[in-house]
Amino acid sequence: MIRIERRLTEARWLVPAVPAGSLVAAAVLSGIILLLTGHDPIGTWARLLDRGFFADGAMSATFVTATPLLLTGLAAAAAFRMQTWNIGAEGQLYLGAVGASGAGIALRDQSPVLIIPAMVIAGILTGAVWAAIPGVLRAYTRTNEIITSLMLNYVAGLLMTYLIFDSQSYWRDLSTFTARVFPQGKYLSDAANWPSFRLAGLAIPLGLVLGIVAAAVLWLLYARTRFGFEARVIGDSRAAAHYAGIRTRRKIVAVMALSGALAGVGGASEIGDFRHVLDPRGLQQASFGYSGIVVAALARLNPFAVVVVAVLLGGLSNAGFSLQGATFPAGLVGTLQGLILFCALAGELLVHYRIRLRRPAIIPPATEAAGAGVA
């Protein structure tokens, strides 16, 4: 019989050993599935790693996918650390994209020095305001922020769709006949293209740099400032925070806005770094906001770990796309990715619990004591 018991002490060596063990388990499990479906496990693994990280240009492509995951992961981590459950990074990212593309269109004739900061700020503000809605509702009317922030995702998605498909809005391109028949957004000018940085042959998008800076700022905020201290007290015990004279309601709104601002930068980066147009379908298909929650959970809400996890998941997701083909169905790709995530999350359990094989107990034969029960 197998039993799971809570560990009395959590050994330090488990922290690196468990993720490593999880990867091995994922490799074995997916190897079995690959063998059963007639694929070469080692070859597939090699291709997965190659396409995700090592092939020519693979790492640069991975950074592109990792950038929005990093920012939404940070958004989730920022709120979750205060036990405030912002599930709305998805919608906040859309709003960031709306804000940033609006700013980019409005300033299309200006120089990049003006446009790019304006896009970032617009993304921050729209994301923050969108997240502040569930924040205010939580703080002042005690509604559940999980539900409100989640539902606002659908509102944000519909709003984007409305702006491009169902209206003649400022964001929609109406300049040509085809654009009027097949709705699409206005493309931004080249001056609104965010720069990327070259480092050791890799292209690093501006959004990724902003994300890494944000991770460091977030860490400092929580570890070294009064703001972060108050947030941690609130996260641990609302009653203790009230007792200590902390203004909990203002803080909830502020942390939700901070979380939304991070997701909003993710939306701005999607526009400035990659799409250069407000693309409702593309953004909704990507669902970066929800993946960000997985990133934050895998990173145990540590901002620096969010950076690493975002890059790993970005690579995994890219490799999946390029593995897919006539002999390698998309479902199998999803299965492999799912197994890796499953093993990583299940492995977390082992840090706190241990599994023990149990022998049957030695119990004295039923005496009158055991027999004379109630029944």
């Binding site: 009395l8 400032t225 009653a239 109630v374 029944a375």
Partner: protein, 520 residues
């Protein structure tokens, strides 16, 4: 079997093997020897008290007996037969049931549902619950042991006393013949405790065995047949209750004579400034109904004013109104002669009002934060702990090291999370933080409840020392002995009103008791 002879007569011990025999039990935790070669024997049908201070090893020993921990060394015999537990389920199957101090009930489930939760039973048919059968059995048990409870009530609807009955019914329902109760009276009113003692006697009359874990001497004397005293993981001795007294037990438990600290003389009131003055203060309870009515109260600098009364008569509301955690609905609160706006804890903190709440873990400290962080829970917003919004971690640490030493807080490091501390040490963290903030007024709610003898003495000493330095203290306590030992003046709170204020030297226990019951 029908009429067991009264306990304490040698023939019982000779006839039957003991219900529980633990031999040379040793259990080590990292850095702690929690149980050190313990020999422990409980006879069938007796109430056996396990007495000891916090940290003496009572909980470890009971966790071993219920299969939660495995002993590193030693043997356990049940009714004379050796056995080894691998898991709590084995202990349950062997007829051992534990009633924990903090109840383990699912709040939104009914009493009946809680009883069958996780219980496998021959009468069960597959996945289907049979509420009628279960409710019938509960009613039988409840009648037999005089523990009235409605099987269909949901746990959150029940009082603490009723919830405890459900916990006891749960272990009985599972057929427990040996019951372990961990500090069962810590959350009960005196009346509820008496009812519990009656129930326990009914159980032992049916040859069930009760192990009663406690650190309260009076109740051990009142309820038990024999007492085993633990100190620092060792058995100090086992005695028959009829052959001992509270003094002797206290000496065994603490290892020295215990004389509680007493306040010597009151201050010369007339010369002293008023630290706190309440005029006609009213406030609502949590449900929005008026709970405090027209409270008039004064606390002078250096004076200890005791608020006596049975819990639930407005004590928490009174403390919270003074400390800004609750809005008042009428009247005025003045701290050091200045009117407060009220309803703002930060305002109270800035005026020099310190507060030791009765809910220590959860309100008084943030449980997952470290000792060091909890020691600056209020000071973090001021220099030198923070400047321009930035925390100075080095100063937080030095502050913690200094306070831990000064207040003798027992922990291996300032980085230990508060929830890992014992009740006494949590209270020391609270007092260290509140007293080091140089308060003008200290509101202390049940400052020693649940603490062992040594910690109680330390806490009382700290309160007296603070009063000696000129802090006005409002001591809210259900423990009348404590109030009589410390307070200069005593006010009795009943139904949200002050029933009278008496000087300590004129106070009579009987008179206070009548006021507490609303009769005077």
């Amino acid at each position: 079997m029908k009429n067991p002879p009264p306990l304490g007569e040698g023939e019982v011990e000779a006839e039957k093997p003991p219900a529980v025999t633990m031999r040379r039990i040793t259990k080590r935790f990292p850095g702690v020897l929690a149980n050190d070669g313990i020999d422990f024997e409980v006879l069938r049908g007796e109430i056996h008290a396990l007495l000891g201070e916090n940290g003496a090893g009572k909980s470890t020993l009971s966790n071993i007996l219920t299969g939660l921990y495995r002993p590193d060394e030693g043997e356990i015999f049940l009714h004379g037969k050796p056995l080894i537990f691998h898991a709590p389920r084995d202990a349950i199957d062997a007829g051992i049931g534990m009633v924990h101090q903090h109840f383990r009930l699912a709040a939104s489930f009914t009493v009946a549902e809680n009883l069958v939760l996780g219980h496998r039973d021959a009468a069960d048919r597959g996945l289907l619950l049979e509420p009628r059968v279960v409710e019938g059995r509960i009613a039988d048990l409840a009648r037999r042991y005089r523990m009235p409870v409605n099987p269909r009530a949901r746990i959150w609807q029940l009082s603490v006393g009723e919830q405890q009955r459900v916990e006891i019914l749960k272990v009985l329902y599972r057929g427990a013949r040996i019951l372990i109760l961990d500090e069962p009276t810590s959350q009960l009113t005196p009346q509820e405790a008496d009812a519990l003692f009656q129930t326990l006697r009914l159980m032992t009359a049916e040859q069930r065995t009760v192990i009663f874990i406690s650190h309260k001497l009076e109740e051990v004397m009142a309820v038990s047949n024999r007492v085993t005293v633990l100190r620092r993981g060792k058995v100090i001795g086992t005695v028959k209750t009829e052959n001992t007294n509270t003094r002797a037990l206290a000496r065994m438990m603490v290892g020295r004579e215990v004389v509680f600290t007493q306040k010597k003389e009151g201050p010369a009131q007339a010369e002293r400034q008023l630290a706190l003055e309440l005029r006609q203060v009213s406030a609502n309870g949590d449900l929005g109904t008026p709970t405090l009515h027209d409270i008039d109260l004064q606390v002078h600098a250096g004076e200890i004013v005791g608020i006596a009364g049975v819990a639930g008569n407005g004590q928490r509301e009174l403390a919270e109104v003074i400390t800004g955690m609750r809005r008042r609905t009428g009247g005025s609160v003045m701290v050091m002669g200045r009117l407060t706006r009220g309803g703002d804890p930060l305002e109270a903190i800035r005026r020099g009002v310190a507060y030791v709440p009765d809910d220590r873990l959860g309100t008084g400290v943030a449980p997952s934060l470290s000792i060091a962080e909890n020691l600056v829970l209020k000071a973090f917003r001021r220099a030198p702990i923070s400047t321009q919004g930035v925390l100075h971690l080095g100063r937080i640490r030095t502050n913690a090291v200094e306070l831990m030493q000064r207040f003798n807080i027992g922990a291996s490091s300032p980085l230990v999370p508060a929830r890992q501390l014992s009740g006494g040490n949590i209270q020391k963290v609270l007092l260290a933080r509140e007293l080091s903030s140089r308060p003008r007024l200290l509101v202390a709610s049940s400052p020693t409840s649940g603490l062992d003898v040594g910690a109680t003495d330390t806490v009382r000493g700290l309160l007296l020392e603070a009063a000696g330095r000129g802090v006005g203290i409002l001591l809210i306590s259900e423990d009348l002995d404590e109030i009589l030992a410390l307070a200069d003046r005593i006010a009795v709170l009943y139904n949200g009103r002050i029933r009278g204020v008496v000087e300590r030297q004129n106070a009579h226990v009987e008179e206070l008791g009548l006021m507490m019951a609303g009769a005077a």
